[in-house]
């Protein structure tokens, strides 16, 4: 029941996000989409992923997007509206994505559905959240991608600091 509410909200807000021409409204409807997807993550026992989604996308990326829109609106004396461009490429990429998604949904084994609809205890066992297992995995099996990602973030940070510094006039 909860799943269908979240799914409906996610689809409706995502559709509004794509169809509206007001960029600011699109930003705010992205908020609803992200929140509903976080809700779906929780229903799939991925509480840590759900909160990370809130932290990174709502608290970081979305605020940045909204700031960008608000600061750059009415640059040439007209409010920011999105226009439709690159129709051919857009449609073909959307179709390819649709094919990929339909294929992967077709691969689903629906026998595991009762497992997903069971209690939290059946899936998580004694531990109360997935944090412990994620932490252990990150420090053992996936330590290389984890470190590479942190290196990437460091480079981005240094790049941002470099762009923001005042360059001495030559």
């Amino acid at each position: 029941m909860l799943f269908y509410i979240f799914a409906l909200l996610a689809i409706l807000s995502a559709a509004y996000l794509v169809l509206t021409r007001n960029l600011l409204y699109a930003g705010f409807s992205l908020l609803v989409t992200l929140l509903s997807v976080a809700g779906i993550y929780v229903l799939l026992f991925a509480d840590f992923v759900a909160v990370v989604q809130l932290m990174v996308y709502v608290g970081g990326v979305l605020v940045l997007i909204l700031f960008g829109i608000m600061l750059s609106s009415r640059v040439h004396d007209k409010s920011v509206l999105s226009e439709s461009v690159n129709k051919g490429w857009g449609i073909s990429i959307a179709l390819l994505l649709l094919v990929g998604l339909v294929y992967s949904i077709g691969q689903t084994s629906f026998n595991t559905l009762p497992w997903l609809q069971g209690n939290a205890d059946d899936v998580l066992g004694l531990q109360k959240s997935t944090v412990q297992s994620i932490g252990i995995k990150l420090m053992t099996d996936f330590v290389l991608p984890f470190e590479v990602a942190s290196l990437l973030l460091l480079i981005a940070l240094m790049g941002a600091a470099y762009i923001a510094t005042d360059k001495p006039k030559v």
Binding site: D47, L54, M55, G59, K128, V131
Partner: protein, 368 residues
């Protein structure tokens, strides 16, 4: 059950907010050598209720040029974000609205929704003061989330848990009664080599600021950052009356303003509750067991009975009220910071110290 938890948490929040609103007037008056409210009720205690009644009766004004949808949603979103934070706050050893395993992380994330609401309010009002206030507020909150988050991270590293209830249990005599902590013990200052076991002494000796003394620095950092996160003086430049009139809520009146007001005070209560839970021993008693004087046991009660709930609630709320008093005290004694001073404090003072504290907390954990 969920509905009951919702109603109880809402009642508790409203009660604390009303107390703080009254205390703010009285403390401000005391600091400035005035009397404060005296007319409504004994010592003016009915003043906050009457304020609310007055606000509810006022006309609901939406400016013609405002973006009506955003203008209407913003106060609700801000209040919902703050109230959602209360869901994971444990009130006593057995009473917690939603005891999820990653409560601390959830709280940090859900509070960031507040920022979106502020932007909505500032933009929706279509007013330059509101916009400037919202921009300042968001820049300030996003910046100060970093030292606050690092201070909280230091606690999480020491406690090895993201669960508020587990962190609470670790800071008192009831520690071994928590599932998963049966074999743990607390040592004086967190150093096992000293050989003084404080597990059954409890009281202040097991509070996080005492059992890991480096936490005291983290506590100060968190407290300063939390003042900035709820836009309180000396970090109230988003609302600076003398330059921005009232900041992001300048266009709001009546009920909508009341919601903003409520959310702001609820945020103050929430950050103080979190500070108490993470650093000041949560719902644990302040009195230690001294030999035959079992002060800690007497003022803790037994789990599963009403005594534990009442004592837990009493300690948690009284400690929170002390911190709230410090917030008011700071507001009425310190002048407002300039924007550059604000950013200097955050990025060049608090953040480097917080990073050092995180490192030291990791090393300290090895000694425990």
């Amino acid at each position: 059950m969920a509905l009951l938890a919702f109603v109880l948490t809402l009642m508790l929040m409203l009660l604390l907010v009303i107390v703080v609103v009254y205390a703010e007037r009285k403390v401000a008056a005391f600091m400035q050598d005035r009397l404060g409210p005296t007319e409504a009720g004994p010592e003016g205690t009915l003043q906050p209720m009457l304020d609310v009644l007055k606000l509810l009766q006022k006309e609901d004004i939406i400016p013609t040029a405002a973006d009506k949808k955003l203008f209407a949603i913003a106060p609700i979103l801000i209040f919902a974000a703050v109230f959602a934070g209360f869901a994971v706050v444990p009130l006593s050893p057995t009473l917690v609205p939603a005891g999820i395993g990653i409560g601390v992380f959830y709280l940090l994330a859900i509070i960031s929704l507040d920022v979106i609401g502020l932007l909505m309010a500032g933009w929706g009002s279509n007013n330059k003061y509101a916009m400037l206030g919202a921009m300042r507020s968001v820049a300030q909150i996003v910046s100060y989330e970093i030292p606050a988050g690092l201070a909280i991270l230091a606690v999480v590293m020491v406690c090895q848990s993201l669960d508020f209830q587990e962190i609470s249990y670790q800071q008192g005599v009831l520690m071994n009664q928590f599932l998963g902590l049966e074999r743990e013990s607390n040592w004086l200052f967190g150093i096992e080599a000293l050989g003084i076991n404080t597990t059954y002494i409890g009281g202040v000796t097991t509070w996080n600021i005492f059992r890991v003394p480096i936490m005291f620095v983290a506590f100060i950092i968190y407290f300063i950052a939390s003042l900035a996160e709820c836009n309180r003086a000396p970090f109230d430049i988003p609302e600076a009356e003398s330059e921005l009139v009232a900041g992001f809520h300048v266009e709001y009146s009546g009920f909508r303003f009341a919601v903003f007001f409520l959310a702001e005070y609820a945020m103050m209560v929430l950050v103080c509750l979190v500070a108490v839970i993470l650093f000041l021993g949560s719902w644990n008693t302040a009195l230690p067991n001294l030999g035959p004087l079992r002060l800690a046991d007497w003022t803790t009660g037994t789990i599963g009975s009403w005594t534990a709930i009442l004592w837990g609630g009493f300690w948690l709320i009284s400690k929170t009220l002390v911190l709230l008093f410090v917030q008011l005290w700071a507001r009425w004694t310190y002048p407002r910071l300039r924007v550059d001073q604000l950013m200097y404090l955050c990025w060049k003072v608090l953040t480097p110290i917080a990073l050092g504290v995180v490192l030291l907390a990791g090393i300290w954990r090895l000694l425990m």
